[in-house]
Each structure stands twice: as structure tokens, then as C-alpha cells.
């Protein structure tokens, strides 16, 4: 029977993929990195549905007052925007990719992508922050979640 296993093993050949030399794509419906489309987001108009839906408090919304972060995460703070509006932060380090924010968002501003490469070199890079202003908005995204 040992021979049978040997033959089976040889017949199977190499099944490991060439990742990371070649990209490994995941199916479209995979719940990977969530991204926010700031043009669709109505946080500046008082909407906070995603914040309410987020169990690990990965999404936070603050009136933009420089120096005030959400409690406990000051060390992560990266935003240095000036001016009024609201500061929306998405902390990928806390996100559990449950997708409840996507379901909660009535303006479909948040989508889950199939991107699973979330490793970064600095903890601060795990926070994506955007300042959202009232109509006629100047949206600014200050940190990119993209690695590298």
C-alpha cells in the first residue's frame, strides 16, 4: 500500500501556487479589505449608520478637532487635517471584516474588496482617515491602506 501512496503523490504533482510571485486572486464575493468611497459618504450630513453597526469600533467619526482621537487609539492617530467637517477613521487593525457596515450603509459608500494583503510595516498605516465636509465637499483621504 505504501507504493499506492507514492504513486498517488507523484500523480498529484505540485499543487501549491506561485504566490506571492504570481498574484493569488480571490473570488469577487470574498470579504477582504473594506474601502470607503468618500464621494458617496453622508457622514458630513450626520449619518453614522456604519459606526453604529461596527462591533469592534473600527469605524469612528469625530467632529474634526485636532488632537482629539477616539479613546485608546491616540498612538495610532495619523490625521493632521485642518478645517471643519467630520473625521472618519477606518482602523483596519480592529476591523473583523464582518461586513455589517456594508449592510448598514444606505448610500453604498462602503464595499468589501477581495484584497487580503493587509500587512503593513507601521501600525499607523492600518488607519485610513478621511475628512468629510458638507455639500460641495473637499474630501481628503490622508492615509492609504495600501501596503508598500
Amino acid at each position: 500500500m505504501q507504493i499506492a501512496w507514492l504513486i498517488r503523490g507523484l500523480r498529484t504533482g505540485v499543487v501549491t501556487t506561485r504566490y506571492p510571485r504570481e498574484p493569488e486572486t480571490l473570488p469577487r464575493g470574498f470579504r477582504g479589505l473594506p474601502v470607503l468611497d468618500v464621494d458617496r459618504c453622508h457622514a458630513a450630513d450626520g449619518c453614522n449608520d456604519c459606526v453604529q453597526a461596527c462591533l469592534p469600533r473600527a469605524i469612528t467619526l469625530d467632529a474634526e478637532t485636532r488632537g482629539q482621537g477616539d479613546t485608546g487609539r491616540e498612538s495610532f492617530a495619523v490625521s493632521e487635517e485642518a478645517g471643519g467637517g467630520v473625521l472618519l477613521r477606518l482602523n483596519y487593525g480592529a476591523c473583523i471584516m464582518c461586513g455589517l457596515c456594508v449592510a448598514a450603509c444606505q448610500s453604498t459608500a462602503i464595499t468589501m474588496t477581495a484584497d487580503y494583503e493587509l500587512a503593513v510595516r507601521q501600525p499607523g498605516d492600518l488607519i485610513c482617515a478621511a475628512t468629510l465636509r458638507d455639500q460641495g465637499a473637499h474630501h481628503e483621504s490622508t492615509a492609504s491602506p495600501e501596503p508598500n
Binding site: M1, L26, G29, C98, G99, L100
Partner: protein, 529 residues
Amino acid sequence: MIETQSTAKTLEQLIRDVGRDSQRFATATVRADDLPAAARLLVREEGTAFADLFAVDDRDRSGRFQIHLIWAFDPSAAWLDLIADVDPTHPEYPSLAPTLPAVGWYEREIRDELGIEPRDHPLPRRLRRPADWPPETYLLRRDLDWSTTIPRIPARAEDELPPLAVAPEGVVDYPLGPVRSGVVESGHYTLRTVGEEIVDCRLQLFYKHRGVEKRAEGLSILHAPLVAERISGTSAFAHSLALCQAIEMACGAVVPKRAQFLRTLFAELERLYNHIGYQADLCQATGLGVGQAQWEILKERLLRLNATVAGHRYLFGLNVPGGLSRDLIPPVFGTIRRALHDLRTDLDVLEPMLLGSASHLDRLEGTGILRSADARAYGAVGPIGRASNIDRDLRRDHPYAAYDAVDFAVPIVETGDALARFQVRLTETRESIRIAEQVIDTIPGGPIRAEISLPAAGATGFGWAESSRGASLHWVAIGPDGTITRYRARPASFANWQAFPLAVPGHNILTDFPVIEQSFGLSFAGADR
């Protein structure tokens, strides 16, 4: 007090009040002092089994603690929840452990987490409470907030298990764990050996206590499944399913048919990757390297299938109270069907190869025997119980989701050894494929999620699911604002770990231990929560 009550001939004589009286889940009130008598009567009933024992801090509503003893009545597919009030000023009740060995751990857990003392418990020592927590810190009392920082103290010897008697000459105590090679979870064993033979096994678990039940307190019912999924990643779907069913019972929600079928399909996809992965682990334990790789390939294919159909390799985020978070479109059913067909084709090749490998079977046969009487006494569930001649499967005996609409066999083996556990899982893999195919063939259309209306304050619900490791039982109480006030989860591994040390001594040598451990396939994190 116990003596005066033990003359009761029937359970009805002990019951003081009947609460919820649904066909599937009935509650009744008994006096705390009558609990052992009730347990004695229940143990004698044919076709019934102990399910769970836990306590609830109900002081803010009734001013009392409550003990819940849940019992399964298989012939009528019903559950009975016996509730006994305990006075918080004298928090104690007579221990059931002398009657029912299975409750030994459960009572120690109640003692640890609510400070309710089981009188005459044979081993009143800490079970799961971290050794360096102050003695009066009761995690599941409502007045302790989950975010409280617990001060640390030096561990107290009087709360630890008594040390093993000093080994005489020639007897060697072999410590194993808690940190071991590979990605094995943390657990500490002391294996007492005479020569090669293991004569005793001491188990120390609970290094992975995350306070999952406490974390759920105060959460909205929408968020609760996220917590349940994290009890044990490889049983995520079964846990969230059982919890959602408990919430649905509390809220009186009726889950749409299509969601019931989809839940059945996902539950079987979870069982499949677990059972296939189990074979890989067992091959690793017996040193069958190529066999391990072959089963791992199948498991990876199933995980990728999960990612495709559910968006998550381990099926997180699917169950929501009232149904499911996503529907499947017809082409996806085709994908699953093809994957199942390929899996069956591979099983047709690999199964005979395993069954023909003497080096594999020799390591399993007669190894780690869990006798049927022990399995019964300690309440072993799932494939472990079924390999020790316990003919129970919640999918058949207490059908939930769409299990009453599909046909499947429940394999039972009598011998209780590693080979039996291997065979049971092998057969169940085939049956899972059959169930999944039947679901795909017969799934009705319609919505996948029902609206949930918040229940009256104090509503409770009980949910169950047969995970790949056995019965997963969940109980919730919902408060006035629709948030969870008490969450109780009894994963299958908690029940099975208690029986595990009984299978280790006796005609097993030290090198059999990895095989015994893998043949049980238990979850450390699952038992711990």
C-alpha cells in the same frame, strides 16, 4: 434536605411551576434542594440525556440566582429546562455530580463564574477561572462589567487540583505542553508512565479563556453572532447557527424556508472541511505523510469553495438572527455540486487507500478506548459519543434548520477506539455530501431573512446545532432594550474534553498519545470560550 425529597417517584412531584411549555422546549421550576432528586429521576428515563447545566445572575429581576439544568428528550425531540432559584445571600445548592459525573466540570464552572457553591462536590477546585484572579471575582455576575481590569494575585494552592502522589521509582511523569510544536493549541498534560505504558493522564486546559459569554452581555442581538463565531473558528457556523436559533426562539421569529435550507447546506460544508481536515491530522499522527498531504489538498479545496460561495473560508458572517446575510444564486449551486462530485471521486480513491494501509490502521485499532459506559457517564457528544455506541445526533433527534427534510444515516460504532472515531467521521463525510446534494436539489425559493421584532424584557431562548465535533448548545436571555443580558454557550468540546482523560490510560503507550489526541479531534479554544 435531599433525603426528604428523594422519595419523590416522578418528576411531576418535584416540579413547582411550569413556565414555557412549547413542544420543543419546556421550562419548569424546581427547588434547588430537589435538583439531585430530579437528576436521579431523569437519568433513569430511557432515551434522555444530560445537555447542560449553568447559572444565571437574575438578581436585577427576581433578586435571585438561577440554576438551569437542561435535559434532552430524544424520542419526543424536546428539551426540558429545570430552573432552580438560589438565594444570593447563601449561594449554594446540593451538587449533582455524585449522581451525574458529567456535571462535574459544569458545577466547577458555575462556582468559578458566579460564586454559587455546589455542596458536596467531589472536587471543588477552580476549573476555568485564571489562577491569578482574586477569589471573589465572579466573571458572569452582572455587577462585573466586561471591561473591568481584574487585579492579579499570586495563585493560591488551595484552589488548584491536588498534586499527583509522588511517583515511586520507575514511574515517570511526562509533562506535555502547554506550548507545543506546530500550530497545536495550548493544553497541558501530565502523562504518568510505567515503562512505555501510560497509567494516568492529568489534564490542564483553559489557557484560551477569552470570556466570550461575558463579552456578549450588553450587545445587540445583531452583533451577538459575531461573538459566537469566535468561540472556535472551525465551528463558527454551527455556533452562530445555534445562537441565532436561540435568539429566534426568544423573539418568536419564523425563519424563511430558503434560509433553513441554506443553513443546512453551510452547516454541512463546515462539517465536510472539518472531517476532511481531521483525516489529515490523523494521518499526521500516524506518520502517513503523503496521506496527510492528500487530505489537506481536499480540505483546501473546500475552504476555497467556502470563500467563493460565502465570502469567508471559515463561513463567518453568514448567520444573522432571522436568517442569513447572503443568498446564493443558481450558478453557485452548480459550483458546489461540482465540488461535491469531485470530492466524492477523490474519497472513492483515498478511502480504500487509508483502509488498506496497515501502518495507519494498526496505530488506531484498540488505541485510546473510551468505553461506552464512560462516554455516557461523562456526557460525550458528537462523533466521539457515536464511536462509543451513543446513538445520538441532534440533526436527527432534534431536527433544526432543514434536517427534517433530508435523508441521512447516523453511523454508530461500538468499540470506542481511535479506529471507531476514524470510521464514524469517514462515514459522516459521505453522509454530509449526500445532505448537501439533497439541499441543492430541493431548496425552495423565497426570502432568506425574516424581520426580528424585539421580545418582551426577560425573554429567553435555547438553540442547538450538531457541529462537526458534536452538540453545540446556546442559551440567551434578552433584556428590556433588546440587548443580551446572559449568553451561555456549551460547545461540544467542553463535554468531550471531560471524557478524554478516561481514554488515555490502559494499554496505551506513550507514542500512542498523539494518535489518541488527534482521534478525538477536540478544540481547546472551543472548550474554553
